[in-house]
Each structure stands twice: as C-alpha cells, then as structure tokens.
Amino acid sequence: MDGLLTDTIGAISTAVGNAGISIIRMSGPEAFSVASKIFRGKGNFYEYRSHTVHYGKIIDPDNNDVIDEVLITKMAAPRTYTREDTVEISCHGGYVTASRILDLLYRNGVRPAEPGEFTKRAFLNGRIDLAQAEAVMDIIASRTEKSSKVAVSQLEGRLSDKINSLRTRLVEMLASIEVNLDYPEYDFEEVAADTLSMKIRSVYDELKNLIEGFHYGKILREGMEVAIIGKPNAGKSSLLNRLSGRNRAIVTDIPGTTRDILEEYVNILGMPIKLIDTAGLRETENAVEKIGVNKAIEVMDSSDLILFILDANSGFEQEDADILEKVEKYREKTIFVVNKTDKKDEGKLNEIKERIPNVLEISVLEDSGINILEREIYQYVNKNNIDTDNQILVTNARHKKHLQLSLADLEKALAAIEAGMTMDVVSIDIKSAAENLGYITGHQVSEEVVANIFERFCIGK
C-alpha cells in the first residue's frame, strides 16, 4: 500500500481494445494540474466547473505535438468514485492512442494504477465499505443470468460449505495425528501412514475438481472468449455487430480497417460470451496492422472458441489457406463459417465445402444461419456437460489461488509420508493446507488478503 492516497494514479479504464472510444482516467491530488498541462481547450482547465465535459486537444507539452482530439471530464473531490479529484479523457480509437496519452500522463508525474486501485481508493476514502468493494467486482462480472446464478449460490455459501467440509476433514486428520503427538502415553490408535495418505488423496482429488471447475466458472463469470478470425472483408466485424446487436466495430469495404482487437460481451442463449474481433490474419508491412495481426494469433491461442469466417463470394483464396494452416492447431475449438451466402458463387462455395465439409453457411446481411451459429456456440460451451445448476464453481481468482496452494500443501504432505518423514513434519503441510482453505472462508488473516482482494478488481468500475 505504498504511496497510498498521496500520489495521483492513472489508467485506461476501458478494457484493452474495447470499442472505438477509450477512456483514460486519473485520480489524486495532481489530477487537475496534470490535466491543465496537457489539455488545450476553450478557457482555463482550472476554471471549468466540476462535473462538466469539454472538447479540446491533448498536446505533448515537450514538443507541442497534438496527440488526439478528446472530450475531457473534470470531477472535483469529494463527489467522485474515489472521493479524489478525478479527470477522465475520452479519446478516439483503440489502444494505441489511449496508451500514448497514458504515457504522457506518466511522464508528467502520474503513477500507473495497480489493478483495482481506483476501487481501493474509493474504499480507503470511505466511499464504499469492504463488502461493497468486493461486490463491485461481482457486479461487473455477473453479466448474464447464468453467471449471476453462480454468484448467488456462491453467496448462499455452497462453495464455502464445500470448502469448509474439506477443511474439516483435514482438521480431523490433524486432530488424530496431534492427539498421538500430545498424548504419547495414551493408547490412542496411531494414524497409519497409508490410511492417512488415502484420506489426504481423497481431499486432494476433490480440491482438484474444484480447481478444474474454475475454468468453467470463469467462462460463466467473465464470458467465454470467442475469437472471430478470417481474411479481411470476410465479414467478421459485421458478424460481431450482428451478434451483439449494436454498431460497435467499424465496418468498411476497405480491407484491414479493424486494426485492433475489439471485444464485445454478448448474451447467447443465456451464456455470457466475450466476442473478440481480430484484424485480418494476413502478412502485412503496415506497422499498426502488424500489431493487430500478431495479437490475433495470440487471441487464437488464449480464446476458448474460434470462429473462422470464410467468404462465399470470393471463395477459398491463398489467405484462407494461410489461416487454415494457423488454425489447424486449434481445430478442436474451431467452428468453420462461410459468410455472404446471399451473394454466393456456387462454384467457389463448393470449393470451400470440399475443403471444409462441415462448414456452416450464414449470411450476416440477410440474418440467415445466425441462429444455428448461436446454438453451435452454446453447445460447444455445454459439451462438457457441466450442470450449471448443481456444480459448485470457483469463479474467484483469489479463491482459486488458495485452493491451488492447498493442493500443493497436500502434495507435499503426501511426498513427506512417502519419504518416511515423521508425523510432526507431515502435520505441518496438512495444517498449511487447511489454513489455505481457511483463507477462502475467512478463518484467517494475512495482510496479503487486503492486497489480493483489490488485485482482483479490474481497473475502474
């Protein structure tokens, strides 16, 4: 918590690449003076009234370069989210401009905000209490009905019941070891190493299941990530817009317009889905576009599902072949889609179908095949047969961390038993495993807990 409340922090508060407009936010005692240094608009920034928006330019004071035309919002303490002086700058486009502005802020004495730091300040300044601060995260996260169901059952304590019961089992094991350590003269049954191993292993397995559920829990909470790839002009941005029902991405006839990654949350049959629109995957000399292409490859790797969009009008071209090669690795998680069936060239479409037999035919323009695509996406998510109504899901990264630590402790305990270590040592690891579970249900304290709670928060609200 160094530098707490005495310095000014800044960050991009829209998710990376999200939308055509990015917001940069700064909070702290120097927010206004920094803003007045880099913002040129009508009149003096200091004289603007609080909670008003102004049009102007962001200028690099070192060389007077104009970085972007922006809207700037001035909000004076204490009526702000953090209860500190706050400035928000809305700039054009995606990440690149925004990070140039952010960089400018950093050069002028603003410190990069840690994850969740705005919310942390709101808490520190008495704007919200700790429980509310934690709840903010869940409000942000619960984007659809299904995930709020998980959130609710979390609240109702199904997860903590489960963890408490595992913890109790560990505590029971400990007790039966300890009684022999503390009362050696009595004839209590000694804990046999192999029985103990067996008991530990069974807790271990259940912990492991819980941790595995985290991934699915994350899908429910943060949305499954679906990457849309395809050559330029295949209709990726159009599809994203169709699925999200909004005009978000910039749709043009000029190949390569979508230079950054665009993200949009959509709700498909009750499932939260994070759609990611990538730039066309083609070799390029254009520097900015190259960043986009590299990112697209990264996204393919990290996403849960890939939609590969082909074009029924242009047919299977060299670019498609290149992408197909890249997607080969991820075939398991790829849905092949051919767009523009309204304008199809029968011969070219057949050529595509020969290469990709199960390709799904759609027309974004005519809204045909979109329902089937949605169902495919939904089924993909549910193909692991996860029963959202009954499965206990770990959705919180802090919880997951402690489950993993606990698992590691149990591994060590098993190894210690295996190595023939004495019970005073074995019990240390079991105890530590129990303590780690205790961190989740609130049985223990460490200064790190505070830091960690806040680390979970995305920047901004």
């Binding site: 918590m1 707490l4 409340l5 005495t6 808490f123 520190l124 008495g126 209490d129 700790l130 429980a131 400990l174 300890e178 022999n180 350590l181 503390d182 009362y183 050696p184 003269e185 009595y186 004839d187 190595a419 023939g420 270590m421 004495t422 019970m423 005073d424 040592v425 240390i428 609130g442 223990q444 304290v445 460490s446 200064e447 807990v449 505070v450 709670i453």
Partner: protein, 631 residues
C-alpha cells in the same frame, strides 16, 4: 533498586504465593537485583505438587527447557530431584520429542525452598495476604492477615488454586485448599474491590494408594531411559538410579460401578459449578463420553523415594469415598488397595486473563502482575513459565524498561501467554504442542539457541554460562559446515554400511550432509564411515542432526515466521479510538476496545474479529499514518 535492608516492610517486588509460578517470579526478580519478598500461606508447602508427581511431558517439557534457557529454576530443580526420566515421542519427530520426569515431590519442595532461602535480595515469608493496596490505579503494596503492610513498587499474584478454595468429594463440600491446606478466603474481595473480574474454575486430582497394598505383578512395568537426558542446559549428564512406574487398566466392573453411581458424583449430580478442563476429564466423564471404549489406562506412579504413596494418573473422580474404594479395587493389581488420600475436586477463583497485557501486567492497575493457575492456566510448567515472565517484567517495569514479550514464533512461553491474554480461556488452559504454529522451530533441543541470548541480556544468564553457550553454537555450526564440505567416495565399506542401514548404495561421491539427510541414517551411525567426526556432547549432536535432517522444513517454517512477524510488528497505538474507525463491525469494535491488542497480529487472533475487520483496521492505521506524516 532500594537497599533498605533494615526495613522488612518495603520491597521492590512482592510475590503473593510460593507455588511454581511464585518461585520463578521471586527468583527472577531477586536475581535481577530487585529487593523481593515472596509470601506463602504455609512455608512447608513451597513449590508443592498437589497433583501428579512429574514434570515435563509434551509441550510442558518444552516449557521447562525454555524456562531453563532464560535462566529460570524449574529445570535445575527437576534434574536434582527426578527419580525417573523418559524422552517421549522419539519416533514421532524432533518437534515433539518431549522430556518427562517423575519427581520426588518432597525433595523438589525442599530443594526449591532452600534455593529461595539462599537467594540474595529475597525474603521468604509465611503469611496470608488479604489485601492488595492500590492508589490511583497503581499498586503500592499488600497487607497480611496479621495487619502488616508491605510496600512495593510491583506486586505479582501467584495464588494458584487457593482463592476461595472449595473442596468437593462426592456430596461432601467444604472450604479448603489443595492437599489439606487452608484456602485463602480474603484476597478475592480485595481484588474485586479494584475492579478485577474473577472467574470460577475447577480441577481435580485422583487418590493416593499405599504401595504395600499394590500387586505390581498384575500391571505393566515402565522403566526410565538410559542415559537420562537432563532438563537443564547446564547439566550434560545425570547419573542416577531410577524407579519404575506401572500401568493398569479399567475393567468392565469399573465401568459398571461408575455407571451405577453416576448420580452420586459431584460432577453429574450438579454440586460442582466451576468449569473443568476438557483435556483431563474425570474417569466418570470419560466413561460417559466415550461409552464404547472398553478400557482406559491408569498409570500408577511413585510420589517419591521415601514415601509409600502412589499416584493413580488417569483416575481422578468426584465420586464419594465409598464408591472411590470400590472403583479402585476393580482395577487389576489394586484389588486390596488401601487409600491414603481420597480423590477430590477443587473450585477456586481466578482472574480473566483478557484483563492482562502480554507482559502479564493488569491493563487497569499499574504495577500489578499475575501469573500461574490464577490466570486460568493449569499445570506446574505453565505456572512456572508465566511466573518467570511476570518476575522479569515486574523488574523491567520498575527500571522503566520495555517489557520482555516472547512472541508465538520465539517460544512456547509466547504461545501460552498470547493464548491466555488474547483469546482468554473458559477452562484451565494446558499447553499442547499443537497449539504452536511453529513447532518445528520451537523444539526442546534448541531452546537455548532461541532464548539464552535473551536471558543473558536481561541478566538471568551469567557470563560463564553464556560463554559456554556461544561455544556450543559455534561448534554446532562448524560441524554442519564440515558435513557440507566433506565428500564420502563410494567404496565397499561405505556401501556395506549403507546396505546395513537399508539405505541405497552410492556410485559417486556424496556429501556427509546429504547422507545425514536420509531418514534411515543417524548422526551417530555416520561415525562409522566418517573418521573426521568430532566428539560432540549429546546435546550438540542432537541439534546438528535435527538441523540437517529437517533443513527444508525448518527453512519453510522460518519463512512463515517472517510473515508472522510482519503482523506482530505492526503496532496499534495505545490511544486508538475504535469508535472512530468506519467500517468495523460492532462486535469487532467492542472486542477490540475491551482488549486493546498491542499489534495487528494480536488483534487478528481475538475471537470475533474477522479478516475483514483486520483489513479495515490495517487500512485505517495506514491512512492515519500517511496523513500524520503529511501534516
């Protein structure tokens, strides 16, 4: 320190009670240079063991070692008077190795009393203290039953089980102290008058039997260890003939007698209202609560060499005397038992330890300290440990110095006092190894390494002993270095040695250090293939061996300790106003305001204070500090 030897009414430190707590407190205070007086109702009961005739055992043995490492007396006195000694738990790991000795009860008392008598700066006086004297929330002295006023700068309460003592045998109840001694009936009122809350606790002790009536041939015999491992770090060996203990079991008949007479027991009949400990239930308790256990152990232990009294460990009871006889005679070997002392339970006043600081001083009465069973603990060792700390802190207080507070990572003593003072207790508190988080560090073998430098600093460890200690630490670390540097090449001799110890053979050279890490290879055994091994005393070798074998675990524990210390070192200002902290839950606010913890670490251990409350507190302190720094 005052030196008015002519006046026997004015002292630096007064200790009320000459039990195990009082003796350590008085000796420490006097040895640190304070003019000290110790009072006991009866000088023939100094350092009495009203219950089991032994010292040590799990966790308690650790306490004795720690007392000794700090310069206390219990370990030395026990070494001089023990009649059987055993190291328990040797198969269960070095963290829980525990030394336990049968003590000749009378010799122990005589030895301790004589030590008090010989101690410079110390007066041992027989008197019942009836009043403590307090002016402006500051203790100024005490008054005896004879009306004499003794002035003091600090007073330590170590009254054990004597305050308003009430003895219960079956349905017979009378006012009394342990072992037929008188109770102290008047001091409680004086304590209450100054706002000290008193609780009512209870404990019990089994019957004593005459040896002539016992048939040992029907019992299992238990011998002591050879050689004897001493408690005191000042003693390297003890040559002594040892006497055996015996083990017998309850029978079906015993259980039937108890069940049939349950309504006559004081416990189940509702005569006793004090809170008894869960960990040492009376035999009727055990039989009710563990109904399907077929038999319970009963240990038969000598009370001393020049007495025929035997103690029946595990057989304490609140039954009336006729049932007691019947019960005892149902035990194999005790069919003809002649009882010398009947089992009884005792109820007594004790304070609420939540009212104490970690220094064992009362939060609300300056200069008044409290230690031992009166603090809600149980056991001789627990009492002695607290007594030592209270004695030290009384003197430090008078000198205007910071109190000695051992934390949970330094000593069992720290765990004991922190538990009592921070969490409180609703039954007599017994030390257990499982109460210590850092057990692998808080071992009995390294108590000197942990605490002797502290004892030296406060003046209870003398120069020559400290020098010896430094040499010991040096040779231990030298030896570990040597083991790390010396490689054993593979040879027929070495591999034959390894095979003999069921250890895998080597094909390339291996460090002695790594060989010793193997669980099956002991340090002693290593000598056979290590011609450079120095001839280290047993206690040195033990520390070398444990340090090497458990290195990884010890290192991990030390890391955890570092984490722990961070929280302990975040002190909470004494003038903090919990009412002014937004976001604290009401329960937490009340608890914190009542207990006024010294650090965040201590606050986090208070029941009813949640992690979220601690976060709020941390952040409040942080923000306050930052704001303070800015102004």
């Amino acid at each position: 320190m005052s030196r008015n030897c002519s006046n026997q009414n004015s002292y630096d430190v007064i200790v009320i009670g000459a039990g195990h707590a009082g003796c350590e407190a008085a000796l420490a205070a006097a040895r640190m240079g304070a003019q000290t007086a110790i009072f006991s109702m009866n000088l023939d009961s100094v350092a009495n063991m009203p219950c089991n005739p032994n010292i040590g055992g799990t966790a308690k043995g650790h306490l004795v070692r720690e007392i000794d490492a700090l310069g206390g007396e219990m370990g030395k006195c026990a070494d001089k008077t023990l009649i059987q000694s055993r190291m328990l738990n040797t198969a269960k790991g070095p963290a829980v190795y525990s030394l336990r000795a049968q003590i000749d009860r009378r010799s122990y008392q005589r030895e301790m009393k004589h030590t008090l008598e010989l101690q410079e700066n110390l007066d041992l006086i027989q008197a019942e203290i009836t009043d403590i004297l307090v002016e402006n929330n500051r203790v100024t002295g005490v008054r005896s039953h004879l009306g004499t006023v003794f002035n003091a700068k600090a007073v330590i309460l170590t009254t054990g089980t004597y305050l308003k003592g009430r003895i219960v045998v079956g349905d017979v109840v009378y006012s009394g102290g342990p072992d037929g001694l008188l109770p102290a009936n008047r001091l409680s009122e004086s304590l209450k008058k100054f706002g000290i809350e008193l609780l009512r606790f209870k404990t019990g002790t089994p019957a004593r039997i005459n040896r002539r009536s016992i048939d040992f041939s029907r019992m299992e015999i238990q011998h002591g260890d050879n050689p004897i491992v001493p408690f005191s770090f000042e003693h390297e060996t003890i040559e002594r003939e040892q006497v055996p203990c015996y083990l017998t079991y309850t029978t079906e008949k015993t259980h039937r007698i108890i069940r049939e007479n349950l309504h006559r027991s004081a416990l189940f009949g509702g005569i006793i209202e004090g809170i008894g400990p869960r960990y040492c239930p009376s035999i009727e308790d055990k039989i009710v609560r563990f109904a399907d256990k077929e038999r319970h152990q009963v240990f038969v232990e000598p009370m001393g060499l020049d007495t025929e009294e035997f103690y029946l460990q595990g057989f304490s009871t609140s039954m009336p005397v006729d049932v007691q006889i019947e019960m005892i005679r149902s035990l194999p070997g005790l069919e003809n038992a002649r009882i010398m002392r009947y089992a009884y339970a005792i109820e007594y006043d004790c304070i609420n330890p939540l009212d104490l600081k970690l220094s064992l001083e009362f939060k609300n009465i300056d200069g008044l300290f409290s230690a031992g069973q009166i603090n809600g603990s149980s056991g001789y060792e627990e009492a002695a440990a607290q007594g030592l700390i209270a004695g030290i802190n009384a003197v430090l207080k008078i000198k205007g110095e910071q109190p000695l507070i051992l934390d949970r990572s330094q000593a069992y003593i720290g765990v004991l006092i922190d538990d009592l003072v921070t969490k409180g207790t609703n039954e007599p508190y017994r030390m257990m190894t499982s109460r210590a988080e850092y057990r692998l560090h808080l071992r009995q073998d390294n108590a000197d390494a942990r605490l002797t430098p502290i004892g030296y600093k406060i003046g209870l460890i003398k120069e020559d002993r400290y020098k010896k200690f430094l040499i010991k630490q040096q040779s231990i670390s030298n030896e570990i270095k040597r083991l790390k540097s010396k490689t054993v090449p593979p040879s027929d001799k070495v591999n034959e040695f390894l095979k003999r110890h069921s250890s895998s053979p080597i094909s390339t050279g291996i460090k002695l250090y790594d060989l010793l890490k193997r669980p099956e290879i002991t340090y002693e055994a290593l000598k056979e293939i290590d011609d450079g091994m120095p001839d280290l005393p047993r206690s040195f070798a033990e520390q070398v061996s444990v340090s090497v074998k458990y290195e990884g675990y010890i290192a991990k524990q030390l890391q955890q300790i570092e984490q722990f210390k961070k929280m302990e070192q975040r002190l909470i200002p004494e003038d903090i106003d919990y009412e002014k902290i937004p976001g604290l839950r009401i329960e937490a606010r009340q608890k914190l305001a009542r207990q006024r913890p010294a650090s965040i670490g201590q606050a986090s251990r208070i029941s009813g204070v949640s992690p979220a409350d601690i976060s709020v507190l941390l952040i409040y302190l942080d923000a306050k500090r930052k704001r303070g720094g800015k102004q």
